[in-house]
Amino acid sequence: MINHIALVDVQIIAAVLFCLGLAVALTRRNVFLLLMGIELMLNAVNLSFIGFSRTFAGSESLFGQMTPIFIIAIAASEACVGLAMVICIVRGRESLDSDAFADMKE
């Protein structure tokens, strides 16, 4: 049996990755990097769930491992919809700068 990995360390790494993703999503101007920052945040949440699932006994730990499957499915659909929107908007504006997306309602 492996695993003398402290669960606190897993949560710290998850927190670091989440904050990196948040920083990418907030500060970068390229719309692709914005989407990738959101993906990184979702990944960090997955890691947190899996880390916490190990605090439960065998069958109960399934709860913590089931939620990441939903998150992965949501991330996949989010990437599809987000990239489709990017393609549509870039066709009209010829720019990948997120500032060009600011007036979507016009």
């Binding site: 049996m1 492996i2 695993n3 003398h4 990995i5 402290a6 669960l7 606190v8 897993v10 949560q11 710290i12 790494i13 927190a15 670091v16 990755l17 904050c19 993703g21 948040l22 920083a23 990418v24 907030l26 500060t27 970068r28 101007r29 390229n30 692709f32 990097l33 990738m36 920052g37 993906e39 990184l40 990944n43 997955n46 890691l47 899996i50 880390g51 699932s53 190990r54 605090t55 439960f56 006994a57 065998g58 069958s59 730990s61 399934l62 491992q65 089931m66 990441p68 499957i69 992965i72 499915a73 996949a76 990437a79 990239l83 990017v86 393609i87 010829e94 990948l96 700068d97 500032d99």
Partner: protein, 273 residues
């Protein structure tokens, strides 16, 4: 011997993967071109998959590579290639005003890490002078509960009653319970020179007979419809129904749009399934 080698290698691999993930995350933040960022993100996802495997979640480790690194990032890279324009180089790396937004992640990170490090492993400490310390979370990979008492001085003997009609001696002792449940353990200290230490203490806690995150148990219940308790099969059935509904909906929509585009001739090819 095998156990001790793994005990060293487990954390080493974990910190290796964690380091790669963090460095790739920083690389994503500072990436000059989105394609570089995508490659850094794939690095994060692959190392996270390694961490999942170390945490006894092999199914999610496979799914992570398959869906995230495989499907999603493939799509992202493909779209970046399609829209690859010379204009991308004219976009500044950062909007200098948006760097104010860095304050939020920094504050959040400090708060999260501070909370995580201040919350230690759950230990139950009785307020008795004998200083009974029971840490059920000491060994995550086995069902062993570790009992530890404070040093009662020279000549002290420690008698543990584990609550399942077994006893043991020693200042620090591990005990594996045959059945999961709530137990009350009792420690009696005797023979200590400091008379105040000669006392007893009890603590109630929950012990698990099944190792946490056990692979054997996971694989036994994963696809077994008859298995009691939570199984993955419900999730797969749900996802299957959603996929089926979306395929049927796509076919119906495609047929309708084909009919509206050319109403004189009926649509006889859907093309995809």
């Amino acid at each position: 011997m095998f156990h001790s080698l793994d005990a060293i290698l487990g954390p080493a691999y974990f910190w290796l993967f964690a380091g790669i993930a963090t460095l790739c995350g920083i690389g994503l933040l500072l990436a000059r071109h989105p394609i570089n960022g995508a490659i850094y993100l794939i690095g994060v996802m692959l190392s996270l998959s390694g961490i999942y495997a170390l945490l006894n979640s092999p199914f999610l480790a496979v799914l992570q590579v398959l869906v995230y690194a495989g499907a999603i990032m493939m799509l992202v890279v493909f779209v970046i290639m399609v829209l690859n324009q010379a204009k991308e180089h004219t976009i500044p790396l950062f909007d200098w005003f948006s760097l104010v937004g860095l304050i939020l992640p920094l504050v959040l990170g400090a708060a999260l890490i501070g909370t995580a490090t201040s919350a230690n492993a759950p230990t139950f400490r009785s307020d008795d002078k004998a200083g009974l310390i029971i840490s059920p979370a000491a060994d995550q990979s086995s069902s062993t509960v570790v009992f530890r008492a404070v040093d009662a001085g020279d000549g002290a003997t420690y008698l543990w009653e584990f609550g399942d009609k077994t006893t043991g001696g020693g200042r620090e002792i591990g005990h594996a319970y045959a059945q999961s449940g709530t137990y009350t353990a009792k420690l009696t200290v005797s023979g200590a020179k400091d008379a105040v230490m000669n006392s007893s203490a009890t603590a109630t806690f929950r012990a698990y007979a099944v190792p946490r995150g056990e692979i054997a148990l996971l694989s036994a219940t994963m696809f077994d419809v008859r298995a009691k308790g939570p199984g993955y099969y419900l999730l797969f059935e749900l996802v299957g129904v959603v996929l089926l509904a979306s395929v049927v909906g796509a076919v119906v929509l495609a047929k309708r749009s084909l009919e509206s585009a050319s109403p004189e001739k009926p649509a006889h090819q859907e093309g995809h399934h």
